[in-house]
């Protein structure tokens, strides 16, 4: 191959892919319910920062961080995620320390830092399923919560009420004794703390 042909090929590929940019605009639309590790950037920033090194999962002492294969699309292949019903985050913040690119921000393990910076999602209670709302006192989710009375409080008959400071770690969903779970995390893909 001549040098000129080679350079032309590079330029041609670049141009044609620039033209195709518009068709790629509708990317990163999450179709599954999953959480990113605590302190992750918003979904688009996260995907552009994460180099898929796998160190967050290798550091997680709770083994809650798993990795996507192809089920969430090519763009999030090999990125870390958490399914809270299987194994939830204990907010140890070790994944942020170990992340080399800042896709998961390094945060101190301290309540106000966590409340200010972490927003994986927010728990919602399904009152039709929740035992406490059926008159059978339960309160397991309240006791599982690492931010008791800050993120969740209990009312009459241990009925759980999620407050706005819930960071979405998923320990309540993990601990719920109902099948299917009566409390679940709705992920916040923008991850903007209130």
């Amino acid at each position: 191959m001549k040098r000129r042909t080679f350079l032309q090929a590079i330029a041609g590929t670049g141009l044609s892919s620039l033209l195709a940019e518009n068709s790629l605009a509708a990317r990163n639309q999450p179709s599954m319910r999953f959480l990113r590790p605590p302190g992750s950037l918003s979904e688009d920033d996260f995907l552009s920062r994460c180099i898929r090194c796998g160190k967050c999962g290798e550091t997680c002492p709770n083994r809650c961080i798993k990795y996507f294969d192809l089920e969430n699309g090519l763009s999030s292949m090999d990125t870390p995620y958490i399914t809270p019903r299987e194994q939830a985050c204990i907010l140890c913040m070790k994944c942020g320390d170990v992340c080399p690119t800042g896709a998961i921000q390094p945060l101190e393990r301290e309540m106000y830092t966590i409340l200010k910076n972490v927003k994986m999602g927010k728990a919602i209670v399904n009152r039709d399923l929740c035992l406490s709302f059926q008159g059978k006192t339960c309160g397991v989710c309240y006791r599982a919560c690492p931010l008791q009375d800050v993120a969740i409080r209990t009312g009459r008959l241990e009925q759980p009420h999620v407050l706005k400071d819930c960071v979405g770690c998923g320990l309540c969903e993990r601990s719920c004794i109902q099948i299917p779970q009566a409390i679940r995390i709705i992920p916040d893909y923008d991850r903007t703390p209130v």
């Binding site: 191959m1 080679f6 090929a9 590079i10 590929t13 670049g14 892919s17 620039l18 195709a20 940019e21 790629l24 990317r27 688009d44 920033d45 995907l47 552009s48 920062r49 994460c50 180099i51 898929r52 090194c53 796998g54 160190k55 999962g57 290798e58 550091t59 997680c60 002492p61 709770n62 083994r63 798993k66 990795y67 294969d69 192809l70 090519l74 763009s75 999030s76 292949m77 090999d78 070790k94 170990v98 080399p100 690119t101 800042g102």
Partner: protein
């Protein structure tokens, strides 16, 4: 002379280092499992298999550390990006991909690639030859191809243009910029391999990356010798560019060369040591130094490759030439 003796055995040292790094990639997931067992404080609840892992890792690490939960965090990750005894190191390709995808520079991450970049500027594609975990498998794969060839099968005989990989690098950067995701992470064998070994040991099993890696092995075996490293690998392209003006080069001493061409046969990258052609592709694997019967090849400090010096003085071509001259 003693330096020459060391150089002749560098290939064995290289194989040792490659095996150690590959072994570490297997060991680190087990260490992580051990850490999680320790963190859970639930040794009694482990299954027999998990108990075996926990016991063996404890046996392995207890002489060196007291608190596995925190101290083992000094050893994490893969060659793509990892922590080696507290020192964070990343592949320069990861930095290039991340800068392209994020369209910004994150300085702490850039600094982690500094040592690999400096090493590549001095030694060229040293990562490819001495560190890359995929190299170990690719070289074993090449030995397999040699056996098949000896058995009479027409395997791995094609040749392409080595500059193809620079195109892959450029296209990878463009794709990273357009999709805002790091495309290299899905097509760079050392990154894939490190990840997949972790998946297989600590998580559910091999993922789609392993399929890609096996395809590259088959490509090397069937189509072309060390084809992925030579023609496709974007990391190899980046390291070649970084090592274009590398300081350490292998040089042929024309006075000692006898034109036996063993160096050309043994070079998996298809270079031409016999005609002084190492170029930026040489990964310093030192196989040619090890195989040379007359010690004509050795490392020298030089920024440029030697131009072709003519046939070796111990070879018959040179003698014939001289006879004609006289």
């Amino acid at each position: 002379m003693s330096w020459m003796l060391i150089q002749r055995h560098l290939n064995k040292l290289r194989w040792f280092i490659l095996s150690v790094i590959f072994g570490m990639l297997i060991l680190i997931p087990f260490l992580h499992l051990y850490q999680t067992y320790e963190a859970a404080h639930a040794y009694d609840l482990l299954s027999p298999m998990e108990k075996t892992i926990s016991d063996s890792m404890e046996w392995l690490t207890s002489p060196f550390i007291k608190d596995p939960e925190t101290e083992l965090n000094q050893l994490k990750g893969t060659t793509w990006s990892g922590t080696l005894f507290g020192l964070k190191l990343s592949d320069p390709l990861a930095v290039v991909g991340q800068v392209a995808a994020g369209k910004m520079i994150y300085l702490p991450f850039l600094l982690t690639a500094l040592i690999p970049i400096l090493l590549s500027i001095i030694f060229g594609r040293i990562f490819c030859g001495w560190i890359c975990p995929a190299t170990l498998l690719y070289e074993l794969n090449d030995n397999l191809a040699a056996w098949l060839r000896r058995a009479g099968l027409p395997v791995s005989r094609h040749k392409f243009d080595q500059r193809l990989k620079y195109l892959v690098l450029v296209v990878g950067i463009i794709i990273s910029m357009l999709t805002s995701t790091i495309a290299f992470a899905a097509m760079y064998p050392p990154a894939i391999l490190g990840r997949e070994i972790y998946y297989a040991i600590a998580l559910s099993g091999f993922g789609a990356g392993m399929v890609f890696f096996i395809l590259t092995l088959l490509f090397d075996l069937m189509v072309t010798r060390r084809g992925f490293c030579r023609y496709v690998c974007p990391g190899g392209a980046l390291y070649s560019l970084l090592g274009r003006f590398r300081i350490f080069r292998i040089k042929r001493d024309v006075a000692q060369c006898n034109d036996c061409a063993k160096c050309n046969v043994v070079c998996q990258f298809g270079l031409d040591p016999l005609r002084d052609d190492f170029s930026q592709e040489c990964n310093n694997c030192t196989a040619c130094i090890a195989v040379c019967p007359t010690d004509a090849l050795s490392f020298t400090i030089n920024i440029k490759d030697q131009a072709f010096q003519g046939p070796g003085h111990l070879g018959h071509l040179h003698r014939k030439h001289q006879d004609k001259g006289e």
